[in-house]
Symmetry: C2
Subunit: 116 residues, 2 copies
DNA sequence: ACGAAACATGCATATATTGTAATATATGAG
DNA sequence: CTCATATATTACAATATATGCATGTTTCGT
């Protein structure tokens, strides 16, 4: 019953979740679920500085969660796996069930759910 | 189109994923999916020091992902939402599709999938 | 009351992540 | 070639998280 390499696998999974553990990165993913977007478009939608977008995209690229494709002068980003949408959806259901502290958050979650 | 309080919600989601972003915590959750367990049992299964288990359980408790119930001298932990199982399963599928670097990891993931 | 077992917490130090700002690279227009 | 625009990288202080180990707390048996 060798169980040694399991540790490596868990570290890998942890790295994946860590990549999701940032407000801006989550928002980027939620936007990319609907539609591929350029850095510029992401920047406008997020309302943050350009370097912030690029560096968070770098994190998501580094974990193979998104991929960028050069299109002339701009770069269009896309999810590498549509299951990311499903993952975020299950996460939302979990929040909805138990993890909510304030009424405000709860209302927002319910609105999000209806929008999909 | 007020979009202001969204930031708070994203921070909340980020905190949730951050709670999953740790090898020991992931392992704990995978064990709890199958069966509720005491700290002692988790410690044995994980092969780590007791304070480590309690510490990581504290993180999971703090994000409402697990809950502990005193049973005499011991404390039995359980997932607060069975959807956690589904979440980890979707994550595993994503790894399986794209996020795998080494052959070793890939083989392990496939074994995990078959076991469920 | 005493001691042992099962958990939980605290703390010091090491390490990693973040925010911010400056700077670099690449592409296409003219 | 030069310039403007789009994107990427770097540097670094501030903050957050992890790790290892000592010490509390609660419960129960005797």
């Amino acid at each position: 019953m060798t169980d040694v390499p399991t540790e490596e696998l868990q570290a890998f999974k942890a790295a994946f979740f860590r990549a999701l553990a940032h407000p801006v990165r989550i928002r980027i993913l939620e936007l990319l679920i609907r539609k591929d977007l350029s850095v510029q478009e992401l920047q406008d939608a997020l309302g943050v500085d350009q370097p912030v977008v690029s560096q968070q995209l770098a994190v998501l690229r580094g974990t193979n969660i998104v991929a960028g494709k050069k299109e002339g002068v701009s770069v269009r980003y896309a999810l590498r796996d549509p299951l990311i949408a499903q993952l975020l959806d299950v996460a939302r259901q979990i929040f909805n069930n138990h993890l909510v502290g304030t009424q405000d958050l709860l209302r927002q979650l319910q609105r999000e759910g209806r929008r999909r």
